[in-house]
Symmetry: C2
Subunit: 359 residues, 2 copies
C-alpha cells in the first residue's frame, strides 16, 4: 500500500512516474536494455536528455540566452561551484540569509576567499520571515546577490524574487516547478532534484550566457559551466537514470497543466493546511503569513510531549515522515508537487482528530 509521504527530500514522486519507470526498467523503449544500461552518447539517451532540457525550458519559459545544465554534487556542490564560476578570490558578493540553507551557502562562499556581505540576516527573527526589499542595499560592486527562495527547515519562502541591481543567484532546490519563476530576473538558478524534479543525484543549473566562461583556474571541469554547456552536460558520464526520471517528472508536470495549474493546486494545499493549523488552537506555525512556504510546513503541538504519539499514530494512518528537521525538532509536512490534495486533506483530518482526542 502506498502512503502519503511528507518527507522533505528525497520526497514523494508521482506514482505514474514510478510506474512508468517500473514498467520499462528492464527494457527501455524496446531496446532490450534498461535506461541505466545504455550509453549516454547513444542516440536514444541523447534524445532523452535533450527532451528533458526542452521540457524544462518550456515549463519555466527559460530565455534563449540561458544554458540549462544537468550536473552532479547537489545544491551543496553548487554552493562552491557558483563562486568558482562567477568570481575571483577577493571579490565582493552579497547573500540574504533566511535560514539554514542560506547559512550553508554563505559558509561555502567564505571558503572560496570572497568578501561576503550578509544582508538582512533573519537570524534575529529566528528565520520566520523574508527581508523587505527596502530593508537592505546591495553593494554596487557585488558580483551577485544570492538568496534561497524557499527554506525547507524554517518553512520560509519568497513570494517573488528580491530586489537587486546585481545579478540574482538562487538555490531553487525546494521550490522549483511549484509555481512559475521569473527566470529572466535571475543570472543563475540551481536546484537539486530530490524535491520537485526527480530523484537525488542530479542538480539543474540554469545560467545566463554572459555569466559563463569566467571560471577560476582549477575549477573542476565537471562544474565548469562553460565546459559543461559546450558538452551538453556530457563532458563525463551524466547520472543517466536521474536525468531520465527527471524527464518523466517534467512530462507529468505538463500533464497536470503546467506551472500555473500546479501553483493553484500548491497554494490550495498550503492554504488549507495553514488554516487548519491556525484555527486549531492546538498546532502552531511561527512563520510570518506572507512568507509562509507552500512546500514545507513546520508546526509544533501545544504539548511537545505528544509529538511522538502524533508521529506513531500518523504513521499508522499512512501519513509518514512528519518529524521536523533534527536541528529544530517539532513536526513538518513537506507538500511538494507530487503530494496530492487528498494527502493534505487526510493529514488535516488526522490532525483534527488527534487534537480532539488529545487536546
Amino acid at each position: 500500500m502506498r502512503v502519503y509521504n511528507f518527507a522533505s527530500g528525497p520526497a514523494m514522486l508521482p506514482l505514474e512516474v514510478l510506474q512508468q519507470a517500473q514498467a520499462e526498467l528492464t527494457d527501455w523503449q524496446g531496446s532490450g536494455m534498461s535506461v541505466m544500461e545504455v550509453s549516454h552518447r547513444g542516440q536514444a539517451f541523447v534524445a532523452c536528455a535533450a527532451r528533458a532540457e526542452a521540457g524544462l525550458r518550456r515549463l519555466l519559459a527559460v530565455p534563449d540566452d540561458y544554458r540549462v545544465l544537468f550536473l552532479q554534487g547537489g545544491a551543496t556542490g553548487q554552493f562552491a561551484a557558483v563562486p568558482l564560476n562567477l568570481t575571483a578570490p577577493g571579490d565582493r558578493v552579497a547573500y540574504l540569509n533566511t535560514g539554514q540553507w542560506s547559512t550553508r551557502a554563505i559558509k561555502a562562499a567564505r571558503g572560496q576567499g570572497l568578501a561576503v556581505e550578509v544582508l538582512a540576516d533573519q537570524a534575529s527573527s529566528r528565520y520566520t520571515t523574508v527581508p523587505a526589499d527596502d530593508s537592505y542595499t546591495v553593494p554596487d560592486d557585488a558580483v551577485y546577490l544570492h538568496y534561497t527562495p524557499n527554506e525547507t527547515i524554517g518553512g520560509v519562502e519568497f513570494a517573488r524574487p528580491p530586489a537587486s541591481d546585481r545579478p540574482l543567484v538562487a538555490d531553487f532546490s525546494s521550490t522549483i516547478l511549484s509555481r512559475p519563476i521569473e527566470v529572466s530576473r535571475h543570472g543563475l538558478i540551481y536546484a537539486g532534484a530530490q524535491k520537485n524534479l526527480g530523484p537525488a543525484g542530479v542538480v539543474v543549473v540554469i545560467v545566463r550566457d554572459d555569466l559563463t566562461g569566467h571560471a577560476r583556474p582549477g575549477t573542476p571541469e565537471v562544474w565548469d559551466y562553460a565546459a559543461m554547456a559546450k558538452a551538453d552536460s556530457m563532458l563525463n558520464t551524466p547520472p543517466t537514470f536521474a536525468v531520465y526520471l527527471l524527464g518523466l517528472v517534467l512530462d507529468w508536470v505538463e500533464a497536470q497543466g503546467g506551472l500555473e495549474a500546479l501553483a493553484r493546486r500548491n497554494q490550495a494545499k498550503a492554504v488549507a493546511l495553514y488554516r487548519a493549523i491556525d484555527d486549531s488552537g492546538f498546532y502552531r506555525n511561527p512563520v510570518d503569513p506572507p512568507a509562509r512556504s507552500w512546500m514545507n510546513v513546520p508546526f509544533t503541538l501545544a504539548d511537545p510531549d505528544l509529538e511522538s504519539a502524533f508521529l506513531v499514530e500518523a504513521e499508522a494512518a499512512g501519513l509518514t515522515n512528519l518529524q521536523g528537521h533534527r536541528s529544530v525538532g517539532g513536526l513538518r509536512a513537506s507538500i511538494y508537487n507530487a503530494m496530492p490534495l487528498a494527502g493534505v486533506e487526510a493529514l488535516i483530518d488526522f490532525m483534527a482528530d488527534f487534537a480532539a482526542r488529545r487536546g
Copy 2:
C-alpha cells in the same frame, strides 16, 4: 527481449538486480514508498548504505584503516578531487600514462597547479601495453603515483599494481570487482559505478586514513574526504537510488561466489574472445597479450569497410553496442561482470559466421 549489451559504460547490469529493483520500485521493503522517496537520514536508507559499504569492504577485503566513501561527480570529478585532497599547489606528483583516461587525469592534475611527472608515457606504443616496473623511477618527493588499472578505449590492463615506494592512487572505474584487488598496496582507489558497480551517478572512493584531513582550503565540502568520512558520505543528500542499486549489485557479486569466482569467469570470457580474434585471420587486437584487458576488447576487421555491416548484423542478432570509441573507431566488446559467458560465446559464434561469409 533482453539483448547482450557490449557497451563500455553505462553498461550491462545483472538482470536479477534490475528485476529486484523493478519489483520494489513503488514499495520498498513494505514502506509504501520507493527507495527514491525515502529520506537519506531515515533508518531504512542509512542501513541500506551501511550494508553497501560493508559489502564492498568484505568483497575487496578493505583494511580497517581505509574509509569507503560514496560521492558524486564521477571519476572525472575525482581527477580534480584527488589533487585537492592530497596535495598543495606546487607539489610533485607522478602519473603513468597508459591511455586516454590517464591522459585526462594528468590534465586535471596540471589544472591544480602541480608539478606532474609523466612516467613511462605509452603514447609511443600507441597505448598497447603497460610499463614494466623497471622502466621508470618514481621521484622520492612525489606525493603519489597515479595509474589507470584498466583503459577502456585502448583495452589495456595492469595484471597487478605497478611498483612504487610512494602511495599508489588508482582509477579503478572499469575493472573494480572484476578480480581481487590488493587494496593495501594503494593509498587511494576511486571508481565510477557505471561499469561493474551499478548505475552512473555514484563514485566510490576508498582512501587510507592518513591521506585524509589535508584538503586544500576551498576544496568543495562534497569532495572533502575527511568531511565526507565524518558524515558517512551524507554531508549532503547522496544519490540514494544509485547507492541502493550498488548494494544490490554487491549482493549479486557475493551470490556469484565473490571476486575469485568472478575473476575465473572473467578470465575465461576474455581468453575465449582473444583466442577467437587471434585465430581468425580476419579480426585483430593490437594489445600486447600480457596487458590485454579482461573488460574491454577492442578489435578491427581485416577490411574496415565491413564494420558497418558487422554492427548492423550483430545488432540484428541481439549483440549491441559493439562500435569502438568515437576517438579510435573500429569495434569493441566490453565484457564486464554482468556479461555472461553465454553472451561472449554468442559474440564469438557471430564473429566466426560473419568472417566465414564476408572474409
